[in-house]
């Protein structure tokens, strides 16, 4: 909310405070100033040179001898002699030939920097001495645009008649506009007067004008009834108060300059005096007002008295609002209606038909109060957010309605020559009790950790207009009606703390026993896993949890073979876009999209992600704190591209691209790091996302950890990836970590005796997995066989069709002796017999 400092200064003296110091103080106390606009003063986009831009007075206007559209204005700028200024201002043109004038204007000497009024946009230029159609010119009278006040460039700006002549313009029109960014639902801070009240308390300064006193100044009386309108609040639960003020014979015209400037600086567009005054009072006091064209307000059937009925809408009832949108209402929306139908949505927006315009003669002024949650609901349902609904939605003090109506009436009388009926209709069914709080000032000490003296607490609370009876252990505090946020003792602690000033608080170390210490093993294990994977050369990525349903489909290219999900997906009601409408049930789309975007720049990608997936697992149940969504952690990996970065020595030709065994190697090492290498089972997998012949599934016991392999070429194409092997893995990290935790590390005795090494080449069926042969050798040779390492795979004529030869390097060792020739030959025979019987393997060459 933008507030000009000059406006604040009406109620509390602030212009003597250095602006930066004021701003910082306000920031610290919770009145955050998000932005500061400087007008005219140094630091402004266009500072007004106090020596060259002055207030002045046009005293006569003569025709220009050589130009029809121009005139020569004689200007008194406070100098010894008047200055003749050439100008094309249309309003001065109208004074041609007149003298004895007293038109107050903004005057600029040569050398002054101004905006160029004749070009689009904001272009600065320095005023130069020149001749205009033969007449010398070394000064000018300025338009709003030239001064940077508004875009109005057609005519010059006129200052109030009371403006002194020859003073720097910046002293008259210069200003600072504070843009407050106040968090929280504080209706009492949504106004100039509300902020002034806070500043008064902070600086211990008295408030000096009372905009709330217009009732007395106009001598108005509130009454339940008056002739001018028949008022009824049919639904008092949604409308605690409604006042109607009769304003007769308004003269609809533009507002005076000072009001226009204030509204502009506050970010509003001046329209006419009547509309401007309702806006002005809303800004000044925080009470939204609405002006109805009285001539339009219809009586009830059979009556001649215009009527206003505040009631819930009938379901489906319709009205066109001021913004020319046709609105349809439900039964929980509150309407302002007349004898015929709706004329406004209470607290949100008026109807188009009852709008005040140039033809309006009498105005019925509404100042009301509405149930704030209902206003917010209506506003959200209708997607209609206005200054009024925003203020009501932050809670407006119902006590404010009548003083605000009177304040607007006062301004209408002054600026629109209106006559105000002495009786204001005031229906106030929801008048709240005065709120009191029993407050133990020691609560502040307990919560804040410092002792704020009790008389200081009293001073602060009183400065904020709280009533304080500081007697006994528990004080009775009376809450001002506008402090709708202050209900609990703790709320008073905050008031005391912030005005006392947090800069006076020391920092302390928590002086308490530590809670029982616990480790977070799942997180520790997860972080350990990250370290292992980084050590294996993979880069960590974190992708979006929200994905596109299309991407899930892309993972299953064969419609006959959809993916098996652990549960239904979690879908958003209000996604940003279809691409981000579903919580992921797999990490693969994130990995594939990351590969795609990076392959534009990189020829080698090796990444992993550890993150949650999400799927429906049941019904939400608040009582059991159950969300009905399972969120297990998953692990994904993706490698593709060059086996190693570009280097000056050539690698083995034909093996430059990473393939399945690169990923497998990473996984083997990972499993070894987790002591799982001999405890998991590898099998050929049949996951639809993978190349059917290059997919493995890894299990621990009967738990499937997940799949890995080369991406199916159709999936690769669906994700726009180039024609090269893309190797991916997705495992359930919870299962993997559980397996690692369950798999005890076994440290055998280290034998001091030299091992015996020998190689065995075994011919097996093509279909027999290498891992099976290895396992068979290990089992048959236990405990003497220490290591079985595959070092060659051979296919060809020598071993025959449909067969392959697997060559293993074995090492034998006993803990207690050197193995003899006899031991070794017995062991070898046992191994060969075992693989022959179990797998039909033959010793190669035998």
């Amino acid at each position: 909310m933008k507030i000009p400092l000059s406006w604040l200064n009406d109620y509390v003296k602030v212009t003597d405070l250095p602006i930066e110091a004021l701003r910082q103080r306000l920031d610290l106390v919770g009145l955050e100033v998000g932005g500061l606009e400087v007008i005219g003063y140094p630091g402004a986009r266009l500072p007004w040179d106090p020596d060259k831009i002055l207030t002045a007075e046009v005293v006569s206007v003569q025709p220009h001898p050589n130009a029809d559209r121009l005139v020569l204005a004689e200007v008194n700028y406070g100098g010894a002699e008047n200055e003749i200024v050439v100008t094309g201002a249309p309003s001065l043109y109208a004074y041609r030939g007149e003298s004895g004038l007293h038109l107050k204007v903004a005057f600029a000497w040569e050398g002054a920097e101004l905006y160029d009024g004749h070009v689009e946009g904001w272009v600065k230029s320095r005023l130069k001495k020149s001749r205009i159609r033969g007449e010398p010119s070394r000064a000018m009278v300025c338009s709003e645009k030239e001064l940077g006040l508004s875009e109005a460039a057609e005519d010059i700006i006129y200052l109030p008649d009371s403006t002194p002549v020859g003073v720097p313009l910046v002293e008259v029109l210069g200003d600072y506009v504070l843009d407050f960014d106040i968090k929280g639902p504080f209706g009492h801070l949504q106004s100039v007067y509300g902020i002034a009240r806070e500043i008064g308390a902070l600086y211990d300064r008295p408030l000096r004008q009372n905009p709330l006193g217009a009732i007395e100044r106009l001598n108005l009386k509130a009454a339940a009834e008056a002739e001018f309108v028949d008022l009824e609040i049919a639904d008092p639960d949604l409308c605690p108060r409604y006042t109607a003020t009769m304003v007769r014979d308004v003269e609809v015209k533009p507002s005076p300059l000072w009001m226009q400037l204030r509204l502009q600086r506050a970010g509003m567009r001046p329209i006419t005096n009547v509309v401007d005054i309702t806006n002005y009072v809303m800004w000044e006091l925080g009470q939204p007002l609405h002006a109805f064209d009285y001539g339009i307000v219809s009586p009830r059937p059979g009556s001649s008295q215009p009527a206003i009925i505040v009631r819930r809408a009938a379901p489906g009832e319709k009205m066109t609002t001021l913004d020319e949108e046709k609105r349809v209402f439900d039964n929980d929306m509150l309407l302002i209606t007349d004898g015929e139908g709706p004329v406004g949505i209470g607290g949100v927006m008026g109807g188009l038909d009852s709008e005040v315009d140039d033809e309006t003669r009498h105005v019925l002024l509404e100042a009301a109060n509405f149930a704030f949650l209902n206003i917010r609901r209506t506003s959200q349902q209708l997607k209609l957010h206005t200054e009024a609904s925003s203020r009501f939605g932050k809670r407006v003090d119902p006590e404010l309605a009548l003083p605000a109506a009177a304040r607007a009436a006062e301004l209408l009388q002054e600026l629109a020559n209106a006559a105000i009926d002495p009786v204001v209709i005031d229906h106030y069914p929801g008048k709240p009790e005065t709120h009191t709080i029993d407050y133990d000032p020691q609560l502040a000490d307990r919560i804040l950790g410092i002792e704020i003296p009790h008389d200081e607490q009293t001073r602060i609370l009183r400065a904020l207009e709280f009533g304080v009876e500081p007697e006994g252990a528990t004080w009775r505090i009376t809450v001002p009606s506008y402090r709708l946020d202050a209900r609990l003792p703790i709320d008073l602690v905050e008031e005391v703390a912030r005005v006392y000033g947090y800069e006076r608080f020391p920092g302390t170390v928590i002086d308490e026993e530590l809670p029982p210490l616990r480790r977070n093993r799942p997180l520790e294990d997860e972080e350990h896993m990250r370290d292992l994977l980084v050590g294996l050369g993979l880069d960590e990525v974190i992708t979006y949890s929200l994905i596109s349903p299309e991407d899930e489909l892309r993972l299953a290219p064969d419609p006959e073979r959809p993916l098996a999900w652990p549960g239904d997906s979690v879908e958003l009601q209000n996604p940003l876009s279809p691409e981000r409408s579903r919580m992921r049930r797999t990490l693969l789309p994130g990995a594939l999209r990351t590969a795609w975007s990076n392959l534009r720049y990189l020829d080698r990608i090796a990444i992993f992600e550890i993150g949650r997936i999400h799927f429906a697992s049941g019904e939400p149940d608040l009582a059991r704190a159950e969300t009905g969504v399972a969120e297990p952690r998953h692990l994904s990996m993706l490698v593709t591209g060059m086996r190693r970065p570009l280097w000056w020595e050539k690698g083995e030709a034909g093996l430059e691209q990473m393939d399945y065994l690169d990923l497998k190697g990473i996984v083997d090492t990972l499993l070894e790091s987790l002591d799982l290498e001999d405890n998991v089972t590898w099998e050929r997998g049949h996951h639809p996302t993978f190349h059917p012949g290059r997919c493995a599934v890894v299990s621990y016991g009967d738990q499937e950890l997940g799949a890995l392999g080369e991406l199916h070429p159709l999936v690769r194409e669906a994700f726009g990836l180039p024609d090269q092997p893309v190797l991916v893995l997705e495992w359930d990290l919870e299962l993997l970590l559980d397996a690692a935790a369950a798999s005890a590390k076994y440290i055998g005795t280290l034998s001091p005796y030299a091992p015996v090494h020998e190689d065995l080449a075994l011919v097996v069926d093509e279909k027999t997995p290498a891992v099976t042969v290895r396992r068979s050798l290990l089992e048959a040779g236990s405990p003497l066989v220490q290591a079985v390492t595959l070092f060659d795979v051979y296919r060809g004529e020598q071993v025959g069709e449909g067969k392959k030869s697997l060559a293993f390097a074995l090492s034998y060792q006993a803990p207690d002796r050197s193995l003899s020739e006899r031991d070794v030959s017995k062991l070898r025979a046992r191994l060969i017999k075992a693989v022959e019987q179990e797998l039909g393997a033959k010793l190669r060459g035998a």
Binding site: R446, G507, T508, I510, G537, D539, Q573, D621, W648
Partner: protein, 349 residues
């Protein structure tokens, strides 16, 4: 010529020859020629049998003498030659030691992970344990139990993604958590009546268009301390310590009054801008200060919702960003770089 003279002649010739042996091969040939089994000295020694008996001892001594002298000369010559040959070979083996080494591929932790770990470590020093809560939350946990009822204006502070389906009854409605604060209720309800010191990290989601400055997905770290005597000055002390450890020992911290529905009093904590040292720059929007956390004393209603009697217990809570401090530290200007996962970006950390 006498046998003695002949012996001396062979001796001299051998010494002269030795000087011409410039390689170890030549030296080996010299050794064969003079000292080998058929070498000239050996042949000389064999002549002893044909000599006069009285000459034999002297001749034999001389032969042995000469043999020893030649062996010594050979050994020292061999040493010299080996040394110079090794020097030569090593010189020939020289390579360009500035060539790029054989590449070793190294992985990188995501910048978010690195920042989270830093936060875990700092708060672990102060006794805070990491507590994790779900991403998909119940409305009641994300809002109502945190003193933010439906339609309450405070809800405007969070633009929310709502989840389809399930039980759409109030409180049971589901959403993507807009902050890590729902974990406060979960931690309190699980741990009551123990005192509590936890941090709650996690992914949060807001209905916001993705721009240079805003993301619909981001991380937060929430902190919560509950005990019989936890105070605002404890909060200030804890966050000042955090700021000193994270941003630097010499940076001042300031506390501003603020508003959050789940804390009362509420504050925001700033640290002096790390880029301009408080002078004012684009990163701190010319204020000289960077916001490090929103915080406050846990609202009595929230404490009660967590099971702790607000007349007996008190607590503080704070919420800090994860990406923002990392951006400030490294001068990253575009938050989209975090979850856009451009590896050229991520590999710099």
């Amino acid at each position: 010529m006498s046998a003695f003279a002949e012996l001396e002649q062979v001796h001299e010739a051998a010494l002269a020859d030795l000087k011409t042996a410039l390689t170890t091969q030549a030296l080996d040939a010299w050794e064969d020629r003079y000292l080998g089994r058929k070498g000239e000295i050996t042949l000389q020694a064999r002549q002893v049998g044909q000599m006069a008996r009285e000459d034999r001892p002297a001749f034999g001594r001389r032969v042995n003498e000469i043999k020893q002298l030649l062996e010594q000369a050979h050994a020292s010559r061999l040493e010299v030659l080996r040394h110079s040959e090794l020097t030569e070979r090593l010189e020939a083996e020289a390579i360009d030691v500035t060539l790029p080494g054989r590449p070793v591929v190294r992985g990188h932790l995501h910048l978010t992970t690195q920042t989270l770990r830093e936060l875990y470590d700092i708060f672990a020093k102060m006794g805070f344990e990491v507590y994790e809560a779900p991403d998909v939350e119940l409305e009641a946990y994300n809002f109502d139990l945190l003193n933010i009822p439906q339609y309450h204006p405070a809800r405007d502070m969070w633009d929310t993604f709502w989840v389809e389906g399930g039980d759409q009854q109030r409180g049971n409605r589901r959403l993507l958590r807009t902050h890590t604060s729902p974990g406060q209720i979960r931690a309190m309800r699980e741990r009551y009546p123990e005192p509590l010191r936890v941090i709650l990290p996690g992914k949060c989601y807001r209905y916001e268009q993705i721009t240079v400055r805003s993301e619909h997905q981001f991380y937060q770290v929430e902190g919560l301390a509950v005990g019989p005597r936890i105070t605002m000055t404890d909060l200030i002390g804890t966050m000042t310590e955090f700021s000193h450890l994270f941003y630097g020992r010499d940076r001042r911290v300031r506390v501003r009054s603020s508003y959050f529905p789940f804390t009362e009093p509420s504050v925001e904590l700033d640290t002096e801008c790390i880029l301009c040292d408080g002078e004012g720059c684009a990163v701190c929007k010319y204020t000289g200060w960077l916001e490090i956390a929103g915080a406050g004393m846990v609202h009595p209603i929230v404490l009660a919702n967590g099971g702790y009697d607000p007349d007996v217990w008190s607590g503080f809570a704070f919420g800090a960003g994860v990406e923002r401090p990392a951006m400030q530290k490294f001068g990253v200007e575009d938050i989209r770089l975090f979850y856009g996962n451009d590896l050229r970006f991520l590999r710099q950390f």
